[in-house]
Amino acid sequence: MHSLKLRTPMDPGKHRWFLDPKWIIILAIVGFLLVFQVFPLVYLVFRAFFSTGKFSLEAFKRVYTYPLNWSALTNTVIAATFSMVFGVLIAFPLAWLVGRTNLYGKKFFRTLFVATYMVPPYVGAMAWMRLLNPTVGSMNMFFMKIFNLGSAPFDIYTMGGLIWVLTGFYYPYAFITISRAMEKMDPSLEEASRISGASPLTTLRTITLPMMLPSIVAAALLVFVAAGSCYGIPSIIGVPGQIHTVTTRIIDFVYIGSQEGLTDATTLAVFLMLIANVVLYLSTFSIGKKQYITVSGKSTRPNIVDLGRWRILITLVVIAFALIVVIIPFVTVALSSITVNLGESVFSEGNITWRYWERIFTRKSILNSARNSLITAVMAASFGLLVSCMMAYLLVRTNIKGKKIPDFMITVGSGTPSVVIALSLIMSMSGKFGINIYNTLTIMVIAYMIKYMMMGMRTVVSALTQISPSLEEASQISGASWLRSMKNVTLPLIAPALVAGWFLIFMPCFYELTMSTLLYSTNTKTLGYELYTYQTYHNQQTASALATAILFTVFGINWLLNKLTGGEFSI
């Protein structure tokens, strides 16, 4: 008889400490974020307090006693607060009308409002300064003619104008958040209220609204931070009217270029970062936990509230809203791009031209910028997606202890205002600490990744969560290796999410303005920055043509995404 020699899989005596590949992944991601996100941000704060080498509040004293800075602070808080309030006041009724009533054209409106989310905010600013310019704004002229007014009724270069444009471009953030929460809510919670004797309106007030409150607060905070850290809109609308915000002041200070200017910028940035991080903390870590999870039975379609005789009237109001806030601005920008003389109507004699469109496709600097934007966006999206996939795997499929650390860091990164990220990178990555990537495309790719990677990560994570691990296990038990199981089973199933995640990172990077404004050099201008300089210094029509081209690209990609993923993903 043979004596069978059994070899133990791992000799306990020779048990050696070895590095789990999962740990390598975590360490790599954490390392990257530590170097390019945490360290720069910490250094930024450090610099604000140790500007002269030792601890001092000199910089703070100087910055915050300067009246222009004070007004920038108050302006930022006022503009962000009002945009938040108006944004939610618009978004909640819209989300309810679109999701829960028999409003005409619900699907169309939903797509339209969500689509605004993808539009670069500066496009809105460009449109509204054309429409409501106090002397030549076409909408102002229109009102003057109709109501026979002596002077223009609106002036866009005011705080009111700023709030109006900010609201118009950031309410979609709230709309999307609130709509999603409303879709997730079990409709029988509302039905239970109806059967208990409550009218639709009472139900809305006593059940729907309180249940949605955590999501509404989260949505409001999201709008607050987005509006407060926006640069494109206040720089186009605010600055001409002497309304400075923290973001425009920071960029002004950086442009001064002196050591003092940089210190002042830093000091302001610390303020912005503080607000953003406190808000982020509130919305993800405290309110986020309060969100009600409800057991859902079979999926009944949500009970549709009959608007009755108000149906047509309310639909008309929504149409008017869509026209004013979405359609008219886009059309204005598109028309500006083919107008010779902006002072006259586009349809007047000989006022139509394609020369600006020709220009954007031939001028070398524009083509260069487009190439730069394409390269950086593709790189940021690809690396970002790679990190997203690894993070998703770690978060969903493993129980490894440190997995929450990179997740937390990525969340913080995306919650940090763009200006702050860019400034911190400038200060720490220009050779002072052995890394000099200032004036390269690399620094932009890194900045974009820090800001936008989370969108990709969340998409991949939620897709992977929906795939039961037993599907992979079934493949392994059938004889496929772990890697082949991934390739044959998991990958095809999450492919749509991967495509969506990639584009979710790609799109905002492609037309990015704020960070590019701080990080560009002569050879690394981006599309967003190019557009901004044309808008402010050279020729608004060319800027409009560029903006229109960007809009078409963005909508085109979204349409493609919708087709590719069978309607499962689009923004």
């Binding site: 029988s188 039905e191 209220s193 059967i195 208990s196 409150l213 039975g297 079979k298």
Partner: protein
Amino acid sequence: MSRIVIKDVKKAFGEVVVLSSFNAEFADGEFVTLLGPSGCGKTTMLRMLAGFEKPTEGEIYIGERDVSSSENFVPPERRDIGMVFQSYAVWPHMTVFENVAYPLKMKKMHKQEIKTLVEEVLETVHLSQYAQRIPSQLSGGQQQRVALARALVAKPQLLLLDEPLSNLDAKLRDSMRFEIKDIQRQLGITVVYVTHDQMEAMTMSDRVIVINKGVIQQIGKPTEIYRHPANQFVADFVGKINFLEATSKEKVLTFKKSGHQLPYDGPLTGNVVVGIRPENIRFVSMKGDFEGKLISKFYLGDVNDCRFDLGGEQIRVIAEPTSFDSSTVGETFLLRVDEYSVFEDDGDDSYTKILT
């Protein structure tokens, strides 16, 4: 007081007809169950009673009131109905007390009165000590009882229950079944209960309405439904059954495959299908109707579940547990049939299968 009349109700979503020509009358205090497979239209019927869906055609009366017809439609909040949802739909932002008090608050009752009534109904569902809890601190069964208390507190004319037990585990489902029945008897309230679980339907109902593909198959007492099913669908859906093809001629049924015979004095002639419930077949030592070879047997504790080959067809028999020890696979036995139903052979042979 709360007689329910459903007259020619039809419901279509666009082109798809989910319920065709539903006619029924429920007496005051009756416990009626709508039973059928998922997607048969039973929940749609319940939601039309509640007022969440509008019938495409037909009329519904609750008590003497026309709540739904071509001229009239009463919205759910004015129908005076209590309802328990499959997902319980207990509001997570309110305490148990607030949840249950809600229907009374909608009636603008006085605070003190609300307190008395809520305490009373919480007593009935054994939740008195949980009044100040919030729902997430309660178990599934307790949330279920909160939903029940909320549905009962306003003393509605009619109580609707939409698969209320399907999210509970088996033991709890058992005890809740009796509890709901008890409460209904105590309050004498009319109940319409929707389920796909025949056990729930059999144990709780005064009458069962079996529905398939939007059409009522049979209305009757549980015993009638079980012992005299109107057609093969009902026979198949409620309980276990063997279907055997046979021909009926001169008061004798002859089985097509095995050639065995059974007496028959019904009206059907020609091709028929005979339905025999497995528990209605016994082992006998003489005067058997069938002779069959034992193919398999399974000891289930309370019964011996076995299969026989009758010669060309198989039949399932559920025999008493002691027979397990006294029988051997491969042996031949005599079997006697105590009760059976005969159906017209509609050519659809999807029923003539061995049920497991």
